[in-house]
Symmetry: C2
Subunit: 155 residues, 2 copies
Amino acid sequence: MARFTPRQDEQEGLVENQDIRKAGLKVTLPRVKILEILENSEARHVSAEDVYKQLLANDEEIGLATVYRVLTQFEGAGLVERHQFDGGHSVFELNRGTHHDHIVCIRCGKVEEFVDESIEKRQREIATEKGFEIADHSLVIYGECKKENCPNLKE
Amino acid sequence: MARFTPRQDEQEGLVENQDIRKAGLKVTLPRVKILEILENSEARHVSAEDVYKQLLANDEEIGLATVYRVLTQFEGAGLVERHQFDGGHSVFELNRGTHHDHIVCIRCGKVEEFVDESIEKRQREIATEKGFEIADHSLVIYGECKKENCPNLKE
DNA sequence: ATTACAAATGCACAAGCTTCTCATTTCCAC
DNA sequence: GTGGAAATGAGAAGCTTGTGCATTTGTAAT
């Protein structure tokens, strides 16, 4: 009920609405809100549950099923990337066009990104040697970040 | 009835009952049988379900819960490695002491292994640069293997 | 603006994988 | 052998993800 915003100002949707539409998807409130959360979240990598909780915190009436549906559609449209770090659940991040790999702290969960062209190159060579046409790859380094930076070293 | 090896050449990465005991685990029938299956399976990467089905085929009365429990314990003991390729479920492989990465065919699911020291080295350097103490890493290349080799290009 | 229709959503439920619970059984030291 | 802790089996539960269907929403034509 109380969620009738007088006007949807699209000034901040100059990029996203276009992209949703370009993907052949209707520009609906859930999709816009989810995209906003992905953009505004200080954590670059969020799970579907994270998005859902953020929606609830913003008093949006959007179901978890829709979150999964939309994230999967966004993935198919290339708007977001889905990563499967160890531990079972997926995390999503906005696709800003720059490929990168990840290094994850196994203690605090912090995720940093990196790119290394020499690794990329070797991967292409290896795929060729093995007779594979490379489609994608996933490189994740797990480690412990320096204690001073580690926010919550629980237990 | 136990098949015991005359010599204990554990250095060659061969996992055996001694290793179970060394991990602080009792040498029980389920654990021995699961280890046997991991060793004798021609597929190097098997899921918990695969192990379970193989046990059923061998007329062993071992529950799926036990399979998961044992595999997790083996992982903790370093006897097996758990890999989480894209798609949700984990696969396990015997830890024969040789680290390697994987290249997976997204069409037929075939998994090949490779090692590249230059990539390994760059990863260590990157972890150091980022202030991480490296604990593990996962590199998976996804691609399409050459059609002639691709066993079941269904659909 | 209004209308009309296909697309999208919300809800509840279902599926698949993995883990937990707990009564019963098994291994191992004595 | 025997005792007791550890391990197991069967089923239930948990978690993430996906589906079916009635209802709502976006969009394009009126």
